[in-house]
């Protein structure tokens, strides 16, 4: 018996498979595309790898959570990120998740219960979509951004909320002869600022999402800016899927209890 979490995000679909001890047996991350059913199935098959056929219990989450036909239940990504983060860090925390189109700030108490949560407003400024757009405009692969930002010696600060206007601002900075690595660090700061202005932080901060998975330098920057203890779970991009799998385990155990009664 294993437990599957499927997180169909606006940008990427993530699958995490856990055993009964919450050990990660397999996982997969791929583009969500337009056919969520297909991408979630393919991601599940890929994550299963050599696990073979066995009974499983599955919970889905994320923007496309209602499109996963092999999931028994769905939970919001807020619940799933909270579940996963509290599993790794079982004390009061503030979670900052920077996703493809969503940012979330979730506060948990000492028992892992949600005190509050906030999501980004209508606009996707400061999310992964912002960096993807900039990567296209600057013709720099996403995976190279982290290393480039680390090489910055004099960060360029960018002002606008708007992704499209920021692109114009970036072009202007290039015309002014600013170095690309300094601009990229400025883009990172822009993402961080959008997330930090959403809510206040408690003493311990946990960061999740694909953006910090692929840009760990951003975590270092947040540590420096906030002077807080900033923690990151293993595979921060999988946090939603991991939490969904933990829910699958919990639901399965409750069912067994129910049956025994």
């Amino acid at each position: 018996m294993y437990f599957v979490g499927v997180d169909v995000g606006a940008s990427r679909t993530k699958v995490a498979i856990l055993d009964g001890e919450a050990n990660l047996l397999g996982f997969d991350v791929r583009r969500s595309g337009t056919d969520f059913q297909k991408s979630s199935r393919e991601a599940f098959e890929a994550a299963k790898g050599s696990l073979g056929q066995s009974d499983f219990s599955c919970v889905s989450t994320g923007y496309g959570r209602k499109n996963v036909d092999f999931a028994g239940e769905s939970k919001t990504e807020i619940a799933c990120h909270a579940k996963a983060c509290f599993h790794f860090f079982p004390y009061p925390i503030t979670i900052i998740d920077i996703g493809g189109q969503d940012n979330k700030v979730i506060k948990l108490d000492e028992k892992g219960r949600r005190i509050s949560f906030k999501m980004n407003r209508k606009c996707a400024a400061g999310t992964g979509a912002f960096l993807e757009e900039m990567s296209l405009r600057l013709n720099i692969p996403l995976e190279e951004m982290d290393q480039m930002a680390r090489r910055s010696t004099s960060m360029v600060e960018l002002g606008s909320y708007c992704t499209v206007f920021t692109a114009t601002e970036v072009l202007e900075k290039i015309r002014q002869g600013k170095k690309v690595e300094d601009i990229i660090k400025g883009l990172f700061l822009s993402v961080i600022k959008r997330a930090l202005e959403m809510d206040s932080l408690t003493d311990k901060v946990v960061m999740t999402g694909g953006v910090v998975e692929h840009n760990p330098y951003m975590v270092e920057m947040i540590r420096e800016i906030t002077q807080k203890e900033v923690l990151v779970p293993p595979h921060p991009q999988l946090a939603g899927a991991f939490g969904a799998a933990l829910f699958a385990m919990e639901i399965h155990r409750q069912q067994i209890k129910g049956d025994q009664k």
């Binding site: 919001t76 807020i78 949600r114 509050s116 949560f117 999501m119 209508k122």
Partner: protein, 415 residues
């Protein structure tokens, strides 16, 4: 499976809806007839404008904000707003204003489809009260120029903590100052007895409307905020008329019967929530279905409560109207508003509050100065803010809102 079946149950609709439709239809047919024939003078009035005075002076009263809500609910607004934007009315200002002016420019109104009425009635005079916002005056001024009719009104006080005599004297004097223009337009002398009679009827409308809303204190609540936004129509457009009062007698009777029989607004009510802010008119149905599927009843709202004018007193018509229109939530300071919501919390016993941050309606978006955070601490319940708008659906992201609402109910389940 049993649980799932329960969740999918449909709520039992209110029988009074048939009568509601007739009251609303009669309201528009009467106005249409007068507009076509000139048989009666027509005053346009803001939703919490001096309707009692206008009726007391023999006017038929038309409420553009009600038309705004119809434009929103029919989802025509989002297409019509750009017509007003082109004239220089910003997409950031009141979307009732922009959609209504857009409707006028495009010559399209929901009245055409619903009542086979070709256009809204022509005004003889436009009367505003800025208690809602400054936008109502700008809105009426547009039509004042279009129709070349007088635009008169009352300027409210704002951010009022304790109501002082000078507030009331000022507003009462402003009401009285409207009379000469109204006499000139109507061709009739002001009749104090008739005015008192309307104030008495309007007070009765308020009492009945309040009683209807208060039935939601019962567990389970016999109806929801979404029902109330529809059934409040007569409290807005026909307050101070016998027809409105007859209607609310019927509705109240039905709601009481539902409480006695345990008929609830949402199936298997598990959670009770308060709605602070404007409705999202174009999404009433989908939001109502969403909350219903989550077994959550929005039991009360500032919005629906805002048409309770308890203080109206036929023996002191001007003074009591000044008090009723100054007691309003929308013109009060933050402390008053928080105390008010606390009273609602104690009365309706809800477990959470949803604030709607309406992009184009700052006066009804009470989340913007830290109130959700303060109330959450004070009442020890969670608050959620969702972004949207009353009419402009370009400002509303459905998936984001849904996830927020579902996560909020999950949070209530956890606590």
């Amino acid at each position: 499976m049993e649980e799932k079946k329960k969740t999918e149950q449909k709520p039992q609709p209110l029988q009074s809806t048939q009568m509601l439709k007739k009251v609303m239809a009669d309201h528009f047919y009467e106005l249409d007839e007068a507009s076509k024939t000139g048989s009666r003078k027509i005053a346009w009035c803001t939703s919490v404008g001096p309707a009692e005075l206008l009726r007391g002076m023999g006017f038929l009263v038309y409420f553009p904000e009600n038309h705004g809500a119809m434009l929103g609910a029919s989802r025509m607004a989002t297409e019509l707003i750009p017509y007003a934007n082109q004239l220089g009315y910003s997409p950031d200002i009141c979307s009732y204003l922009t959609s209504d002016i857009g409707s006028y420019l495009a010559k399209r109104t929901p009245l055409q489809k619903t009542y086979n009425i070709q256009s809204v009635p022509k005004p003889d005079v436009l009367v505003f009260n800025t208690n809602q916002c400054r936008d109502v005056k700008d809105w009426f001024s547009f039509y004042g120029r279009e129709f070349n009719v007088p635009v008169i009104g009352v300027y409210t006080h704002r951010s009022i903590g304790k109501i002082e005599n000078y507030h009331l004297q000022d507003v009462a004097e402003q009401f009285k100052a409207l009379i000469p223009t109204l006499e000139e337009v109507s061709g009739q002398r002001f009749d104090m007895d008739r005015f008192k009679e309307v104030v008495g009827l309007s007070r009765r409308t308020s009492e009945l409307w309040r009683a209807c809303l208060e039935t939601a204190a019962h567990k389970p609540s016999p109806w929801t905020f979404f029902d109330a936004t529809i059934h409040m129509g007569p409290a807005v457009v026909a307050r101070g008329t016998k027809e409105a009062n007859e209607y609310y007698e019927v509705l109240l009777k039905e709601l009481k019967e539902r409480t006695e029989q345990g008929i609830s607004g949402v199936p298997n009510e598990r959670f009770r929530v308060y709605w602070e802010g404007m409705p999202i008119w174009g999404k009433l149905r989908s939001l109502s279905d969403l909350f219903s599927s989550l077994n959550t009843c929005i039991v009360a709202s500032t919005y629906c409560n805002s048409w309770i004018f308890d203080q109206l007193d036929p023996d002191r018509p001007f003074e009591s109207m000044a008090l009723a229109y100054t007691e309003l939530f929308i013109v009060r300071d933050e402390e008053y508003k928080e105390d008010y919501i606390k009273r609602m919390f104690e009365f309706f016993k809800f477990q959470g509050i949803i604030f709607h941050d309406a992009k184009t309606c700052p006066n009804n978006s009470n989340n913007r100065y830290g109130m959700p955070e303060r109330l959450s601490k004070r009442l020890n319940i969670p608050c959620l803010v969702i972004n949207g708008d009353l009419n402009d659906l370009r400002c509303f992201s459905e998936e984001q809102a849904k996830t927020n609402i579902e996560a909020f109910i999950e949070q209530l389940e956890e606590s």
